[in-house]
């Protein structure tokens, strides 16, 4: 039965590919929803509860240990950071008063803090609180921030409103790291009171304060009386509801049970866009998805690389042929209704660290077949593609299967449960795997841990001096032109090795009721609700 269904699906894929290839243009919905959402500045009334549907249950709401993207969404409303990003992903001060001042050959960063700030438990936010937070991030054994702040050796309190970070080496991504969870300052009083259990009672500086959490169901926040900019905050309450199924999120949005739904399915975006009672805000674009090829990961990402005995691992020209057999534009149209950004770089489009002249190689079947022939490997060449078992990923796998077949690859798609698939990736028990990265503001976060030797997310097992040296050199300078040149070389080398075949940047679509205004939604895909409310 399963085989028959698969055969039927495969029979349809070439037709879809042909239709999509012939269409030549993006869908009308795709055209309307490019770029990031313009800010809806309609005046909003005081009061009200906004219910927001999240696509996953966040992990513990502790900025030191949190790892999920959805937790970042909740933090955005209750845990402000030293720095934030603006609509152009430019780093701007949030709890800090200015960008870090570098001295001592870029080994010291002095950060001035805003004055008169209070945590949501009513205690004062000062330099000592910043030190307490950063030291916790650096020393808590289960901290996920330690590696992000790896270059920070000590934190010095200069005065009540100034801290000085001492670095072991020049570290350009510092401000970007402090614009994420590592920069979320926690109330020392709450840390003393709750310790490791802080995540169940989080207290930071933010427009909303934590009220309650019902495991797997909802998180309730209320307007904070201590927020420094509380006049801008109009909502009384913000409720994050966990609605994991994208169809259910859409239906709830249409029925009015929720007013905001994050990460709508691309298949629903067209229908919802046509509904006059709703608005669709496009955002995201810094994450990427691709196919990771196991080139040297034999015993796990934390072990030494070794020899992988698969045709793709053994023959670099076959990896190139595989990459050339794929048409990113067609994948985008067939699988994602033309709503994503096809790309061959880990860096988002528009990033100042990208070489503006760099282009992606187009699908070249003739060259792919030549490379296959040159490799001397007998066709069809077996390739196992592991991916997460969900309808969209499986559709993507089928399209890749159909495209690669034309170049001489016999791709076997193996869907699996997410944790199991991820485990296989880390342990090196895969041939190729479809996996992605949620993306970071600084390019170091998109490449360093994923492509350099020993990187904990380097599933491919790449260990190349050009990549390693380039990434480390780029992290040591703050000069944008210099970093751009270094990252261009690194990405060019990645294209030669094809340890990761980058396919596209995901776009996120935030659905809202038409009467909701004041939401800021940028390329980082995190909706910000401090000025949101119901239009007057």
């Amino acid at each position: 039965m399963r085989t028959r269904r698969l055969m039927a699906a495969l029979a349809v894929v070439p037709l879809l590919l042909t239709a999509a290839a012939c269409s030549g243009t993006e869908t009308s919905v795709g055209k309307q929803l490019t770029g990031t959402a313009p800010f809806d500045a309609r005046p909003v009334r005081d009061g009200g509860t906004l219910t927001v549907a999240l696509s996953q249950d966040p992990d513990a709401l502790d900025p030191t240990t949190a790892n999920t993207f959805v937790a970042r969404e909740v933090f955005a409303s209750m845990c402000e950071k030293l720095y934030d990003v603006d609509e152009n992903l430019k780093i701007v001060p949030q709890l800090a008063a200015a960008l870090p001042k570098l001295s001592d050959h870029d080994r010291t960063a002095t950060i001035a803090l805003r004055q008169g700030l209070k945590f949501n438990d009513g205690t004062t936010m000062d330099a000592q609180a910043v030190r307490t937070t950063l030291m916790r991030d650096l020393t808590l054994p289960t901290s996920s921030r330690k590696s992000e702040l790896g270059a920070v050796t000590s934190v010095e309190v200069v005065d009540d409103h100034t801290v000085r970070l001492h670095l072991s080496r020049p570290f350009a991504p510092l401000a970007a790291q402090l614009a994420d969870r590592a920069g979320m300052i926690m109330s020392p009083a709450a840390l003393r009171k709750y310790g490791k259990n802080f995540g169940a009672h989080p207290q930071c500086v933010g427009p909303f304060s934590f009220v309650s959490r019902t495991s797997g169901s909802q998180i309730v926040l209320k307007k904070s009386p201590y927020y420094y900019d509380k006049a801008k905050v109009k909502l009384d309450e913000l409720v994050y509801k966990i609605v994991t199924d994208a169809n259910v999120r859409s239906a709830n949005l249409q029925s009015g049970d929720i007013q905001v739904a994050e990460r709508l399915a691309t298949s629903d975006v067209g229908t919802l866009s046509a509904d006059k009672s709703l608005k669709i805000l496009p955002g995201g674009g810094i994450s990427y998805q691709g196919i990771t090829i196991n080139t040297s990961n034999v015993h796990g990402t934390d072990k030494k690389p070794g020899t992988v005995h698969t045709p793709l691992a053994q023959h670099p020209e076959l990896r190139e042929a595989f990459a050339l057999s794929l048409d990113r534009d067609v994948i985008n149209r067939v699988v994602f209704n033309g709503l994503y950004d096809p790309d061959c770089s880990p860096l988002p489009k528009g990033s100042p660290y990208r070489d503006p002249k760099a282009t992606c190689p187009k699908r070249d079947l003739a060259k792919a077949r030549q490379l296959v022939e040159r490799s001397g490997v007998k066709t069809p060449i077996p390739v196992t593609l592991s991916l997460t078992a969900d309808p969209v990923s499986e559709r993507l796998g089928q399209v890749i299967q159909a495209m690669a077949k034309e170049a001489g690859f016999a791709v076997k798609v193996v869907p699996g449960e997410f944790v199991t698939t991820l485990n296989q990736a880390r342990e090196g028990k895969f041939d190729t795997i479809q996996v992605g990265w949620s993306g970071r503001v600084d390019p170091d976060g998109d490449i360093n841990d994923l492509a350099t030797s020993g990187g904990s997310n380097n599933y491919s097992g790449m260990h190349d001096p050009v990549i390693d040296n380039g990434v480390h050199a780029a992290a040591a300078t703050t000069d944008i032109a210099q970093r751009r040149a270094l990252y261009s070389k690194v990405i060019a080398r990645e294209h030669e090795l094809n340890g990761i075949i980058y396919l596209y940047h995901e776009r996120y679509f935030l659905g809202t009721a038409a009467n909701v205004a004041g939401i800021r939604y940028y390329s980082d895909g995190i909706p910000r609700f401090e000025t949101a409310g119901f239009a007057k």
Partner: protein, 319 residues
């Protein structure tokens, strides 16, 4: 009866102990290391080792099991690895929700299933029999997730009669609670009603051809009285058996129904816990389910006696 109950309770404790071993080992046999899951996007060896230490995953399996058992007997079910909330608190919040959903779904199933089954048997071979049988076939064939989405689209999106999802505790607002539970209860109860309908029809057909029914008819009792009182009462033993046996189906059905209607119940908790390798929650959930099964089976056995005095409990004769 007393001895019988004591014996059953003793056996239940042994079953729970065996189940705790099976659950403990089964959970650890799942592919995917929870420490790696918790380490998220920064799975450095140091972070993974610290997480293993924090949750005692670095200890030998027997030590882990006895630690778990020690905490279990003191009522400490541990802390959820996902959100750091106490598992006992999570279960205390979730179990009543699923129980309410299960009770409402059962009510729907009993009313619809027994009514349709009785009508189908009483009017065998007629239009109403075919209609009820057709309903039974449909109810058994339609998957919950599809029916749930269809119900949301029709009643919440199109007609706007009922809310699409969510849960309000009964103690907070009874009207809103029932309003939000109608669709999930009907969706969950439909498949169950179909099973009950078929079983009731079959049992009623047997009962209606029995001698005592013929006698009742010959004594001049009215048709509804014969069917409703004499035949149906005797068929209820079958219905009660099915109710007990279908509890598992109801819980597994609740997994899907709770996901679709965003109800923070036991089923949704189970799925989320498995997907995040939340060991303490998975272990607690399975143990509670095992205990639930044991209790329900015991209640079913007791209910047999209440409904049919001819059934004698083996333990009762000894006691």
């Amino acid at each position: 009866m007393g001895w019988y109950l004591l014996r059953r309770l003793g056996a239940a404790v042994i079953v729970v102990l065996i189940a705790s071993v099976v659950v403990f080992l089964g959970v650890r046999a799942l592919p995917g290391d929870p420490a790696v899951v918790l380490a998220g996007e920064n799975p450095t060896p140091q972070v993974i080792a610290s997480i293993r230490e924090q949750y005692g995953l670095d200890k030998p399996l027997p030590v882990q099991y006895f630690d778990y058992l020690k905490h279990l007997v003191t009522g400490d079910l541990g802390q959820s690895t996902q959100d750091k909330l106490p598992v006992s608190q999570i279960l205390a919040n979730r179990i009543p929700v699923t129980l309410e959903l299960a009770v409402l779904a059962m009510l729907v199933a009993i009313v619809v299933g027994v009514l349709f089954g009785t009508i189908a048997a009483a009017r065998r071979g007629k239009f109403s029999d075919y209609t009820a049988t057709g309903f039974g076939l449909l109810g058994l064939s339609v998957p919950h997730f599809w029916l749930g989405l269809l119900a949301i689209l029709l009643f919440a999106v199109k007609l706007r009669w009922l809310p699409a999802s969510g849960y309000v505790p009964f103690s907070e607002n009874p009207a809103q609670n029932l309003e939000r539970m109608i669709l999930p209860a009907v969706v969950l109860g439909t498949g169950f009603a179909a099973v009950l309908m078929r079983q009731t029809r079959s049992a009623m057909l047997g009962a209606l051809s029995a001698d005592y029914v013929r006698t009742a008819r010959s004594k001049g009792l009215s048709g509804p009285r014969v069917v409703g009182v004499h035949a149906l009462r005797n068929s209820l033993t079958t219905v009660v058996t099915v109710l007990g046996l279908q509890l598992g189906g109801l819980i597994s059905g609740a997994v899907v129904t709770e996901q679709i209607f965003v109800i923070p119940g036991f089923g949704k908790l189970t799925v989320d816990a498995v997907l995040t390798r939340n060991y303490p929650v998975i272990e607690a959930v399975v143990l509670v389910t095992v205990v639930g099964y044991i209790v329900v089976n015991l209640l079913v056995d007791v209910a047999y006696a209440a409904l049919n005095p001819r059934i004698r409990l083996a333990g009762a004769t000894n006691g």
